[in-house]
């Protein structure tokens, strides 16, 4: 009984997932929700505003520079964690 219930729920979940995958926009489609006004704005204005021909670099280090600061902080925190864990062993 329990097994039947689990199989039913998982099959339903599988069908829902397959349905949602089939509903997704096509590869590189113009109607995709990710291709919105913001993407148009970046492609049109990044070279003028940031003077960088690499639009990705302009986004990462100019428009979203604060996010990149966060990423750098994550790197710093990771190295801090590794160092503190492995240093603690030596001092015992």
């Amino acid at each position: 009984m329990k097994k039947l219930f689990v199989v039913t729920v998982l099959t339903l979940l599988f069908l829902i997932l397959v349905y949602s995958v089939l509903e997704m926009p096509d590869f590189a489609s113009l109607n995709s929700p990710a291709y919105n006004d913001l993407a148009h704005y970046y492609v049109a204005n990044a070279t003028e505003e940031a003077h960088a021909t690499n639009v990705i670099a302009a986004i990462i280090t100019d428009y979203r520079a604060f996010d990149t600061l966060g990423e750098t902080t994550v790197l710093f925190a990771s190295i801090l964690a590794v160092t503190s864990v492995l240093m603690g062993k030596k001092h015992e």
Partner: protein, 143 residues
């Protein structure tokens, strides 16, 4: 590792990897690439050196003190460049508004804050990679 062929090839290959890494960092705003890619390439070349010539040689090349400084300076450089924007009464990490030299798009000396930030990120990522490797290897040196 004590193998003549590997040592010779690595000795020849490492400068080219590092040159490519530095190119990717410096030309991040003109062609593809950027701080993370270039820093990862430089860090990978340092790790290659470490696994070929041993931990001792690697520690001689990048001592813990130096990597610590690089680590901290990378992120402090980033924040200092951001504070320049506040000093010139623009916003934090401002580029054109903060009055950096913009130049002509497509040149090496252009795009204001972007190449400077990229250099900081590259130094940070490279030193993180080599420090992580050295810390993990430190206690069993037979790798």
């Amino acid at each position: 590792m004590n193998d003549l062929i590997v040592k010779t090839i690595v000795r020849w290959v490492i400068p080219f990897i590092q040159l490519f890494g530095v190119y990717v960092v410096f030309y991040g705003h003109v062609s593809f690439g950027g701080g993370f890619s270039g820093g990862a390439l430089i860090g990978a070349s340092l790790i290659l050196y470490a696994i070929t010539f041993g931990l001792k040689a690697s520690k001689k090349m990048v001592p813990h003190k130096r990597s610590q400084w690089m680590e901290s300076l990378g992120i402090l450089w980033y924040i200092a460049l951001g504070l320049v924007g506040i000093y010139t009464s623009a916003y934090f990490l401002g580029n054109k508004a903060a009055g950096f030299y913009m130049g002509e798009a497509g040149q090496l000396l252009s795009a204001g804050i972007i190449p400077l930030l990229t250099i900081g990120i590259g130094v940070k990522v490279a030193s993180t990679m080599i420090t992580l490797f050295q810390k993990l290897v430190e206690e069993n040196e037979d790798v």
